[in-house]
């Protein structure tokens, strides 16, 4: 039960919460943490509900690609 994914999923939320409640500019600085949280949560949901192995691996790859793409999109929008 206790592994790095489990720990990161919960540790990162405190930084995001601080960013949201204190200052939104801090959230822009910490936006990578938000995407880590999103991708870990989506992977957990996939692992729980999809049991066919091929489809699961394809969807995991797609989640990884899309999370990288969305973070690139934010960088493009801000820069």
């Amino acid at each position: 039960m206790f592994n790095t994914n489990w720990f990161l999923l919960r540790l990162v939320t405190f930084f995001i919460l601080g960013g949201v409640l204190l200052d939104l500019e801090m959230l822009i600085f910490l936006i990578g943490f938000l995407f880590l949280h999103v991708s870990l949560g989506l992977k957990t949901i996939l692992n729980d509900y999809i049991h066919i192995k091929k489809i699961k691996i394809i969807l995991l790859i797609l989640i990884r690609i899309s999370s990288i793409e969305i973070s690139r999109y934010i960088l493009e929008l801000l820069l």
């Binding site: 919960r10 989506l42 949901i45 729980d48 999109y73 934010i74 929008l77």
Partner: protein, 123 residues
């Protein structure tokens, strides 16, 4: 990968506060993800559609006043705060504290009150 035990028939159980809040936590997380992607794409589209800054300003001001935008804004903020509060409960329960009925009752009251307060403050 993880191999968590999953209940075979979720429909045979009575709806309990703890299970319902957990399910809503997942649904709200998915919803917030889709919302973030939608917001990014729509803001990029707004930037590309308008060719001058004045048109963009006018569009944003019109959007802010409209009822639909206000409704979506308040709805999303309340869902975000629900996700935060329920996440705190999940962290507390993962660490092994307060696993009893009284805490659950107080937590449900607190969540409903806080979300109600958020909606009232934003109106």
């Amino acid at each position: 990968m993880y191999n968590r035990p999953l209940s075979p028939h979720i429909t045979i159980y009575k709806p309990q506060a703890s299970s319902l809040f957990s399910i809503w936590h997942r649904i709200s997380g998915l919803f917030l993800t889709f919302l973030m992607v939608f917001f990014l794409i729509s803001s990029q589209l707004l930037l590309f559609i308008t060719n001058s800054k004045d048109i963009l300003n006018g569009l944003i001001m019109q959007l802010e006043v409209s009822f639909v935008f206000q409704f979506i804004y308040i709805f999303n903020i309340s869902i975000f705060f629900y996700h935060i509060i329920n996440g705190f409960k999940h962290i507390i329960w993962d660490l092994g504290f307060f696993i009893n009925q009284k805490f659950l009752f107080l937590f449900v009251l607190f969540t409903c009150f806080f979300i109600f307060l958020t909606i009232l403050l934003l109106l």
